[in-house]
């Protein structure tokens, strides 16, 4: 093949053009919304797109997105009460997002992005994603007769693919999209940039305002549906957390419905110790999304994305953040199928595993909503994923999930009481975010002004003492 090393298409020269490529592919001039060295006019940025909640709902009605069933998990709720202290055990309702056209809540995000792309006359849509979002963008593109390209991180250097991602490639092709399947590595972004530059397609990034505003309808529906059914807003909504968009959009939708006191709890699968850019670790995990490999770095530093300012701000919206293990999620996936007659994909059940444990400590008259499900099928299924794990030498056994070691063992609980959440210290994540933001300023020899401090406080929910203390350490 051609030697790309010194050409316009080389890694270095394409990466140098990233800002201009991004600007023309998302059609937003982010610079307009900067109000300080750190500070951004976040609400102004979102508002400038013109997508009010009503408009989003209207767009989604036209593509049969949203209005998914809210299912009370009656048998699981009975089980929770059987294994909880008297008077404890909240009622769990599950928002069955698998009922969306491509089988996940990601249709909500894709619907607004693709609508925007069509309205602005882009010839097609591209997205860098190995998850459900690819199928969602491909499905929405199909509905709008737009061309679509999905770029996936799909297989390791031995050619072994994650079964879940293979299924997603199949789904994308079924919707008529071109799928570029890459081996492991962050240079996927380079390939994605070359695609955007060559095609002039719209970048349906997960981190634009369009993608986040599309999820507000989910939070809004949850709050309104629960209120209609039970006369009150839910006490808790558990959201699977990865890149932060799901948490942000859902929490904003809850607020827009008036559910100001609902606690938003993020949940991720614990993959601590596994490196997300490692060729070896790639197939030592059984979850390709909804895990701490995204959840923690995106909370600590949301602006690690393909756009200058990420519209997903998890620290701003998370009231609590917990993890569960892979084995606990596989267990609850089986329980959902056998006790509720709902066979759904495991990754989407991350928040159900967490919700199951959290509900046990809540009062019996309280309501907890598990905010998504996803479709299941060959590859995207506990058997497929655990067969790969076994093939990779991961020990799969029944036991106490507390003993699970990501990448080495998957422990399937022996009893439902063993499903437990582990709290992630949000204070530490806030500290880490503020430190990084202020260090960046210091390196650029910029001053931290009043508007920057206000922005940091609002964006990370860090208090002024924490910010002042970190400032004194860095700018002393």
């Amino acid at each position: 093949m051609r030697d790309l090393k010194h050409s316009k298409q080389s890694y270095e020269s394409v990466m140098k053009r990233r800002n201009e490529i991004m600007k023309s592919s998302v059609g937003i001039d982010y610079a307009k919304f900067r109000i300080g060295a750190l500070a951004y006019d976040y609400e102004g940025l979102l508002k400038s797109t013109g997508y009010t909640l009503d408009k989003v709902i209207n767009i989604q009605r036209q593509t049969s997105v949203g209005n998914t069933p809210l299912v009370e998990l009656k048998n699981i709720n009975r089980l929770i009460r059987k294994i909880s202290q008297p008077g404890r055990g909240a009622r769990i309702f599950l928002k069955d997002e698998s009922a969306n056209p491509s089988g996940s809540f990601k249709d909500r995000r894709a619907s607004v992005s693709v609508y925007e792309a069509k309205g602005r006359g882009y010839p097609g849509v591209a997205a860098a994603t190995s998850g459900n979002y690819g199928a969602a963008v491909a499905s929405q593109s199909a509905k709008n007769l737009l061309r679509c390209i999905i770029v996936q991180e799909a297989f390791d250097s031995r050619g072994i693919a994650q079964p879940e991602i293979l299924e997603k490639a199949r789904a994308c092709e079924a919707y008529g999209a071109e799928v570029l399947r890459l081996s492991v590595g962050p240079e996927l972004f380079y390939v994605f940039l070359t695609v955007l530059e060559e095609t002039g397609f719209f970048n349906a990034s997960l981190y634009t305002p369009f993608s986040v505003l599309g999820i507000e309808s989910l939070g809004f529906e949850i709050a309104s549906d629960v209120k209609k059914r039970t006369g009150k807003f839910p006490e808790v909504v558990v959201v699977t957390h990865a890149g932060g968009g799901n948490v942000t959009g859902t929490a904003r939708g809850l607020i827009k419905a008036g559910a100001h006191n609902t606690e938003v709890i993020g949940a991720s699968v614990d993959l601590s110790g596994l490196h997300m850019a490692s060729d070896r670790d790639f197939n030592r995990k059984s979850f390709t999304t909804g895990h701490t490999g995204f959840g923690i770095p995106f909370a600590e530093w949301p602006d690690r994305t393909d756009v200058p300012f990420n519209s997903a701000r998890p620290l701003k919206y998370l009231d609590r953040y917990v993890t569960v293990s892979q084995g606990e999620v596989f267990y609850i996936t089986r329980a959902l199928a056998e006790l509720e007659g709902m066979e759904r994909g495991p990754a989407g059940n991350t928040s159900l595993a967490a919700g199951f444990a959290i509900a046990r400590d809540m009062k019996s008259d309280e309501i907890l909503v598990v905010q998504e499900t996803e479709y299941t099928g060959a590859g995207k299924h506990p058997t497929a994923q655990l067969n790969l794990a076994k093939k990779m030498g991961i020990k799969v056994k029944r036991g106490d999930p507390a003993e699970n070691v990501p990448g080495e063992s998957i422990i399937i609980p022996e009893r439902p009481e063993q499903i437990r959440v582990r709290d992630v210290d949000l204070g530490k994540l806030r500290e880490s975010y503020v430190t990084r933001a202020l260090k960046n300023l210091y390196k650029q020899k910029k001053e931290c002004k009043k508007e920057d401090i206000e922005f940091l406080m609002e964006d990370s929910r860090a208090n002024s003492e924490m910010i002042k203390r970190i400032m004194n350490e860095i700018f002393k």
Binding site: L79, A154, G185, P186, E187, Y331, E338, L339, P382, L386
Partner: protein, 102 residues
Amino acid sequence: MIRKGSWVEIHRIILEPESRAAHIPVDTKKVPLELKARGFLLETSEIGKEVSIGTLAGRVLTGTLIAENPGYEHTFGKPISELLAIGEELKNILRKKSSLKK
């Protein structure tokens, strides 16, 4: 021989190890960044030859021809014995009259 117009898969090295990004894990940096893509073969050719394909998005991509009519081979796989008993165990708890284990 694979005829023009057949649905095929190609493979290409995007970045050789020495051209990969600086800050990536050592194991990843040791191997090339590879691409696989599917589309319609533009000229009759053979496995192992450099070819061009027309993709579903209407683009032309080039690479080494690696498969004719590539399948979707992912499956559910064999049942996982560690999961099989869960349903019955939980139903047994629901059938029991008393609540908390003492």
